[in-house]
Subunit: 236 residues, 2 copies
């Protein structure tokens, strides 16, 4: 019975090589030790499986578990954590879970979204959002300073990586690229030394290291995306 | 032991009469049958308890459970549901939970936030966000049409109210007010008949009905807020 159930279990991830949101889901799956099939989407010609699985947003990542689609990276990570109990990603204590969700949302709304907007804008509009990003990084640095030390390297606590680490992780690979292409700073190692140290530890994790992308390839792609966006904005 | 534990249990909610985010938390507490102390905040002179409990956003709602602060309405509702097991708010099945979280996020980001922005802007800026709001309402109408019928009155399913209902609930009391003050439509009963019917059922729920605010008092307050915002924006 167990073997039949395992045979039936199908985990498929619709992704795009460049997406930090897809990468989070991959980290969560690897963290749990879940076997999955990765399917690269062509975002200029989306598959019907993607369009029917995520009809509202039509974006990756989509996790298909035995054919059931789950979308949005944070929702997918919670699903993975609830469905496969080994190696918990969120803390077990309800108050600690609430704090982890708070910081995950903070990173998502105030840092990830701000960095994305800053990359795709210029002039006054960019200045405004870069200022907000800087303020948010200062707030996160405060949390990192309070929580992290020589013994607690990650936000997940003593057990290592956790939810907040997985949600913030993109910064280790994408920030440098965004800075080069967008012409603004995401992270200031002088002003955010605790986040900087967290990054240095994060990229050395055996689970993370092999998943990092080469900067050069990313820069070329992001330059193309930025030019396309600014071109469209100029035509409006 | 049980009686001592219950005696020690302290649940306090820092709120503001007008906040739809606070109201959600009150609905969740009442839904669970949890006794709590409500503390009205003066938002022009915030208490030190509020400022120390929510140092990042400095906003209500804040739930204090035995002194531990939990902030952000969706995070608080998940906390309440995890901490008090009676009358589940989220579905038990992981895939159904993921779908409920997806729609809760959709309502929060595409409808609540759009309605708030539209209320506090004018001209072209308002037109743009009202258009986005309209599109989002159409998407939600599609979900309501697929899910709701004469037997399933609420998004929570056969067991009645659930997470999505609590997150969307503000629309029943605030939409009319926003429409009058902001001069735009949140809901079109002709185009969104299923949401309109859901609203009619929601406001008749015994748990909800006594918590609704009188429209006149709300209109006066929202007019003041809109004028203050537009005045500040004009000075920039």
């Amino acid at each position: 019975m167990a073997s039949a159930a395992m045979q039936e279990e199908q985990v498929k991830l619709l992704g795009f090589w460049f997406s930090p949101f897809v990468r989070r889901v991959e980290w969560a799956l690897k963290f749990k030790g879940i076997e999955y099939e990765y399917v690269e989407e062509d975002l200029t010609n989306k598959s019907s499986l993607l369009l029917t699985s995520n009809p509202v947003h039509k974006t990756v990542p989509v996790l298909l578990h035995n054919g059931n689609p789950i979308v949005e990276s944070l929702v997918i990570i919670e699903y993975i954590d609830e469905n496969w109990k080994q190696n918990p990603i969120l803390p077990q204590d309800p108050h600690e879970r609430a704090k982890a969700r708070f910081w995950a949302n903070f990173i998502e709304q105030k840092i990830t979204e701000a960095a994305r907007t800053a990359l795709l804008t210029q002039g006054e509009q960019q200045e405004k959002v870069v200022k907000e990003l800087k303020e948010a990084m200062e707030v996160l640095e405060g949390e990192a300073a309070a929580k992290l030390n020589d013994k607690t390297l990650f936000f997940g606590g003593k057990n290592g990586l956790g939810y907040v680490d997985i949600v913030l992780g993109w910064i280790c690979n994408w920030a440098e690229v965004i800075e080069e292409v967008g012409g603004f700073k995401v992270l200031d190692p002088q002003k955010q030394p605790h986040i900087h140290k967290w990054m240095a530890n994060f990229v050395e994790e055996p689970l993370i290291k092999p998943t990092l992308l080469p900067k050069e390839k990313m820069v070329v792609y992001f330059q193309m995306v930025r030019q396309a966006y600014l071109g469209l904005a100029a035509k409006k």
